[in-house]
Structures are given as structure tokens and as C-alpha cells.
Amino acid sequence: MVKGQFSWKDYDAGNTKHEWDLQKIHAAHKVLTEFKYDKNKIEKGFANKTLYINLTTNEIKEKPVTDDMKKKFTGGRGFGLKLLWDSIQPDTRWNSEENDLVITTGPLCGSTQYPGSGKSLCLTVSPSTNIVCDSNVGGYFGPYLKFCGYDALEIQGKAKEDVIIVIDGEASVIRIETAPLEEINTHLVSEQLTYMYSSKDDERSRQRVSVVSAGHGAENSYWGCLNFSFWDIRRKVARLKQAGRGGLGTVLRDKKIKGIVARVDKFTGVENAPENPEAAAKVGTKIQKEIRDLDRYQCNMRQVGTAHLVEIMDAYDLLPCENYRFGSFPKAPKIYSMKFFENFTRVIPDGCWHGCTMACAKTVDSFEVMTGPYKGHRVTVDGPEYETVGCGANMSLWDPKWIIEFNFYCDTYGIDTISSGTAIAYYMEMFEYGILNKERCGGLELAFGNFNAVMQFLHRMADGDTDEFIKVAAKGIRRVKDWLKSKNWGDHQLIEDAGMESKGLEYSEYVTKESLAMQGGYGLTLKGPQHDEAWLIFMDMVNNQIPTFKDKAEALHYFPMWRTWFGLNGLCKLPWNDVEPANNAETNDPSKVPEHLNNYVEYQNAVTGWNINKEELILQSERAYNWQRALNVWMGRGQRRDDWIPYRSMGPVTELEYVSRQERYDKQLAEIMNKPLEEIEKMDVGKKVKLLYDHRRNQYQILSDAVYMRRGWTQNGVPTPVKMKQLGFADEQKMLDFLAKKIQEDEENGLNEWGGVYSESEEKPSKERRYWESW
């Protein structure tokens, strides 16, 4: 184990070395197109151009970034939405010719002075949800893309054969090249391309190359992620971060892209050209010091990354165990963060971009692979992070080594650990009930805890196995639900209620049964059930800070807006609230971390030269957020029925779950029904499950009513033209006309109605049914 103060040159991660004839591999490339360009000088965080590539026609061109675009969409994910809006149609699907794969940066992306400033936001029409998905990722590609002269990269069309795209900021040229001989799985192809395209054969040159890729798993499932590389000069490997959610890697491979390479000639730390570098460095150093002094007493990110959450979630009954049936488990201590700490390499600065001293990007070095095509190899595994460990709990895999192996193969096969882990957990529960069995699973004994079956499933999937189960299962829970029902293999309601997906996307790893606000945090979202919009469990369930529907709605307005802001700027969210100033608890709004909010206002102003305040900061997000919702509605989704969530996320689906937390549920029922506890205790469990079922589903509808109104939408969840105009979209006539027409249609179809059933004592959010008309 590393002791510290070693020269970066001397460290040896102890991994298996590869012998490739890179010259031969490179010689097999055929250049399809070459595009020479003049590199824009970056000004105040913007390169002011985006890059457009069409793989069908091999056209490459630039698009300007206008002031109007910045005003409406700010940058990053906002730019991605704008580019998509200009390119796709309502019926565009993930594999349509015109579907765009967009990688964006954001004005603060590529600075080094504030921790967490290297994020890219990736967008596309998702195979899982048929609407736009967005996913945030670290690694060096985003910053390098910008230093090559582009705020965003947009790829349309499909290549006929496997290609790579090379964005060469050194020579100011962009090339599409065929790439027949490169590997496809990420841990190999990212290393090959890094060696091939670094200007010199040394670690520092390799650090100036970044590769985006996905593996064989992405080709054969809807769970494809994008792996962004960041070359580690100490470990001497291409480290990886993932844009995991929504199937971006599936789209990458559908376009036949093996890798996207960006390289820069130099990097000095001021390329992002802030208006006021001094102010940026000052506010950045302040938070770096906070991380130094406080992290070890707070989240311990620097030592174990997000894995520190495992024990907390287990303690609060929030760790998803055996497909979210339980929130804690007797074996859970076997996968507490300490167990991973023992495997992680220490002391190395593990930020996914320069200057991130949160350093959450931990690795296990020299891990000996136990199964599959790389069995016996020693590799560096990035992670596992909390979500991946949570998937371990969900699949009942209680050995850290098993979770690390699962993590390694998901990464190199280019699939999202969250979607695949959550889905497999569901298949395992169906297996337990006999709805699935060995025969129906292509010979896999997919029972909870069967590590070998999990790995077999992944290997066969990546291998393109044509077994019916493998093929359907690789498309995720939504498709499997429909498949199971069509086969009539089990109770339809159970099949629907137990599978943790909404909008077609799998849940991330938190149990939400006891927090209504968090149910909204997963359901009332743009891209699907991911906790990046709001994480309200503690505010709601533990600290009881948002007791009323109105409070919850306010939180479900504010936090999604605030968290969206990171993606507009190319920032990581973790340095916002995964370290807090020592006096944060005494401030008037600790959950918002007011001091850090101020930091971000200062930071954005320092880079862009704008002069915004806290309120305008939220407004930036509100614009992008509402635009994305409107885009979803335009694509035929993004309405109340699409915001529905499976009952497993609201309450106990099975009697077993009820009984396992009987005291809690009995007490709640006694309160709801206004009956003595003794009477409830005597009731039939099945009946109690049903009572709770009806109650909680209605609660969720009442919550949706309140949230839609707070966000400025109709009861069907459609953003109103009035709201859009207030946000600054008055000249976006096509969108405004569409929304007006849609709301009129909803009116005719009776969809502009409250979704909840209100009792005498309960108040509706507004007395007016068409409340939005009077704004």
C-alpha cells in the first residue's frame, strides 16, 4: 500500500500490461473526413462555437453560440437541450437517424481553481425512456473539448462501419477515421487510443488525451453508458468516469463509434480565461481549505468517496436490499465503506478533474479479475461508488470483491451499474416468486445472492447472446414487465408494483417508502428516477422539516432547480453539500448550504463576468428545466401518467415487507384510520397492505398536484405558455403554440383536473381549476 511522498514516476499499480501492435492497428485506419478549423480563443468560460458532426454524410461544421442562447440556456446541459430541439422530431427515437448524441461543457467547466469543475453533460434521446436523458460525468474530455475550441459536441447520423472521431486541438483538425482493429471494451480501447493519439510517448502527453467510449454491453442492452477517460500519471492507466443513466452508450455504439478522442497541446490552468482569475482562485481556495479541515469529520469523501453512505443508509433503513424490499440487512456491515477503504489505494490525488480535492474517485488497483474474458488479469477498478455498492445490496451480494468485480465489468462493457443492478435485483425477486425460473432465464439460476449468475448474465449479454430472456432483460425492467405479463407468468399487479422503474428508467439506490417528498424526488422528474434532482429523505423523513404538501412542493421546486444549475455550468454537485462550513447548522437554511450558494454566485460571476445573484442563479435553471419538460411533452411524454412511480417505491408491496416493519405500518394505519392500535394489530395483513396501498397512492397524487402548481404547470404537468414567457421564452413561438394547443387538448380530454382525492379537511392547492389562467 502506498505510504505517501513517492515520485509519480515510480508508482506501479501492479496491473497486467498489454502488448499491442499499435502501429498496425493505426495503419488500418482510413480517414473518412478531415476538417481543419481556426481555434476560437476562449473568453470568460465560452469558446462560443459548437461542433456538429454527421456520421451518415461525414459532414463536419461549426455552429455559433449566440448571446440569445446563453441568455436562455446558460450553457452545458442547457445548450444540449437547444441543440436537440433544433435537430430532433417528436417521434425521434434513440436509434433514429436524426438522434443527436450531445456532449456539453458549460462556462465553468475546465477551470481548476474550484473543486468539481470538470464535468460534462451528455444528452440524447434515451432507449429506455424515449425522451431526452441527460447524464453528468467527470474525466478530462469535457475540459479538453472546450480547449479544442468547442462548448459542445453534437453527433448526428450513423457510421457504416466502426469509426473513431479525433478532435485534435494540437493541429486544429477534426477527423473521422475507420477503426476496424481497436478493442471495443472500454478499459482496453481507452488505453489503446490514448497511446495512439498522445503526441509523445510519456505520461504527461497521455494526460493531455481523453477518450469517450462504451463496450460490448452497450451494444447489446439499453443500459449503455459513456466512459470518459482521465489518464492517471501515477497509476499509468486510463481512469474512467461514467455518464451512466439513460443509455447514452447504447446510442454511441448504435452510431458505430468506438471512441471519441480529444487532445490538447498544452494545459496551463488558465485556458478557461476567467474574467477575474483572482476572485475565482480565492473562493476556490476557501473551499479547498474547508475540505482539508472538515471532510474527515463529515463525509470522509477523500478516503472512501461516496461509499461512506452505505452505513448511514443501512442505519436509517434506506439501503435498498433485495430489490428494495428492505432498507437494511443483517449482512450489510460486510459492505460498509471500511471494507472498501481496505481495498482502495490511498494518498494519490483522486479527483476526476484537476483541483478537485474532494477526491472521491477512488480505485482498487491490481484487482485480480475472477470471471469472464479477463479472468486472471490484474486491473485498476474505478470505484465502487455508493450507488454500485447499493446495487450489491439490492442483488444480495455481500462480498466487497463481488461488488468490485461487478463494477469492473459494468465499466468495461460500458453499462450503467445502477440500471443493470436495479434491474437484475428485480429479476431476482421474480425468480424467488417463480415468475421467472432457471428455464425461463436461459439456464441462469438468477436467485438473490448468486454472484456467478449475475456475472454470467453480464458476460452473455455483452457477448450478444440471443436467448430470449437475455435479450429482453438487457432492455431493462419496463420491457421485462411487459414481457412477463404477455407470457402470463404471474400476477400482473405484482409484476408492475415490484419493478423499480419509472418512465422506463431504473431507480437509483435509495429506499423511498417512508419519504413522500423523495418519492416525488424520483417521480416528478425530467429524465426519470435519479436522485440528482432532489435528495429530500433526511429533510423529510428524519428531520421532519417539510411536513405539509406545500412545504414538500416548495422543496420539490427549489432543489431540482438548484441542482440543475450544476449541469448548466459543467460542475460537480458534491462540493456543494458533501462538505459544509463548520457553522452551517446555525445558518437560517442549512439544507441549502447558504455559504456555498454564495460561493457559486461569486464563482460564476468571476468566470463569466456576469453579475448575477442567488435568485437569477435559480432562474437560469428554471429556464432549462422548463424547456426540458416542455420538450418531453412535445415528445408525447412528460405528463402526469409518465410521472407515476411503482408502488414498491411508495410502500410495502408484499405481506413479507409489511410484516418486516409491522410496528411502523400498524401505527401509521391507526393514525390514518383514526382507530386504536390494538384493533389494527388484529387485522388481516393482506387487508392492511391494501389499505396502505390506497392511502399512499393517493398521497402521491396530492403531492403531484401541489408540485405541478408550484412549478407553474397544469394539473397534467404541462408547462404553461404564461410560465414560459415569464422565463424569457416569449419569442419561442413554435414551443408556445404547441403548449397552448396541448393544454387545450388536455382540457377536452379532462386531464386538467386534480389527481388526488381530497377529504373534507384537506385543501386543494388552489380553488381555481384553471389556476394558471389568472397568472
Binding site: 496551463t268 490552468g269 479547498q288 474527515r296 469529520y297 470522509n300 465503506s337 484537476h354 483541483g355
Partner: protein, 153 residues
């Protein structure tokens, strides 16, 4: 690689110092080719309770492991140096320096630190400064890397 064992660090004889700040000016010459001293000097002399104090890097090397691009290294003579041609200005070393001795001036993004060159020693009219050799093991510091600070120390 042979292990580097000894390093030269600055030693201050407080009673000899008269507070003329010639050392700071000399240091500014080394790092910024100017006589400004103050925030452009790696060594700072402060007066506290009628006595002078020196504030400077002691070559403990904690910053070496903080640098994402490997710009900070210990030289064969034991001195820790920052190569500003490699540095990307992230300030991680500044923030994590246990002594506050990794400095940054507003005039450029790359930090700077004492390189034990002895310019200040030579500039001091009162012989208040000297370079002394120490065992690196005595001064060495490693960034905190235990499991949790609260319970696990």
C-alpha cells in the same frame, strides 16, 4: 531509486533580526525578478509581541501527493520544488499546506514556495538566517489518509 535522506531548511535566529525585510526582497528577486517582498516572497517576517517570527516552508513535502499533474517533487538534494511549467494552477497544494507556506501571488496562477536557495540568507545584513541540514524523516508529513477523523484519529 535511491532514497533521499537529507534536506536543507531555513533556520531563523529571532534575536538577531531587526525587521529590515531584505530577505523578503531577495526572495522576490528569485521568484518574480522584483524587489516587492510581501506577497511575492516565500519567506515572511512578522512581528509579534515585540519579537520577529519567520514563516516559511520547512520542506515537509505534504504537497507532493496533492498535485494532480506531478508538478511538485522532492529533488535529490531534499528540497521540494514546484515546476511552474507543469503546474495547472489548481491551488490544491496551497489549500492543503499544513504551514500555509505554499504561497500564491495575485500576479500569476501558479503558486510558489521556498526552494532553499539561500538568497535570503545571503541578503540578511544581520546573519539572522541560515540553511541547516535535517533528516527528512524528522520533517516529513503525509496528507491525512486514515479512515475518518472523528473516531479513528
Amino acid at each position: 531509486m535511491t532514497e533521499i535522506k537529507r534536506a536543507k531548511i531555513l533556520k531563523f535566529n529571532s534575536e538577531k533580526c531587526v525587521g529590515c525585510l531584505e530577505c523578503e526582497k531577495a526572495c522576490s528577486q528569485v521568484h518574480f525578478k522584483c524587489d516587492d517582498g510581501g506577497e511575492k516572497s516565500a519567506i515572511r517576517i512578522h512581528e509579534k509581541d515585540g519579537k520577529f517570527q519567520m514563516h516559511v516552508c520547512n520542506q515537509n513535502g505534504l504537497c507532493i501527493d496533492m498535485c494532480p499533474v506531478g508538478a511538485i517533487e522532492r529533488m535529490p538534494n531534499g528540497t521540494v520544488i514546484l515546476n511552474k511549467n507543469i503546474c495547472v494552477g489548481c491551488q490544491a497544494c496551497v489549500a492543503f499546506c499544513p504551514l500555509g507556506a505554499m504561497k500564491r501571488s495575485a500576479s500569476r496562477i501558479e503558486p510558489f514556495k521556498c526552494i532553499s536557495c539561500g538568497a535570503c540568507v545571503r541578503a540578511c545584513p544581520e546573519d539572522a538566517l541560515e540553511l541547516v541540514e535535517v533528516d527528512i524523516e524528522e520533517i516529513k508529513q503525509i496528507v491525512f489518509n486514515n479512515y475518518g477523523g472523528a473516531n479513528h484519529g
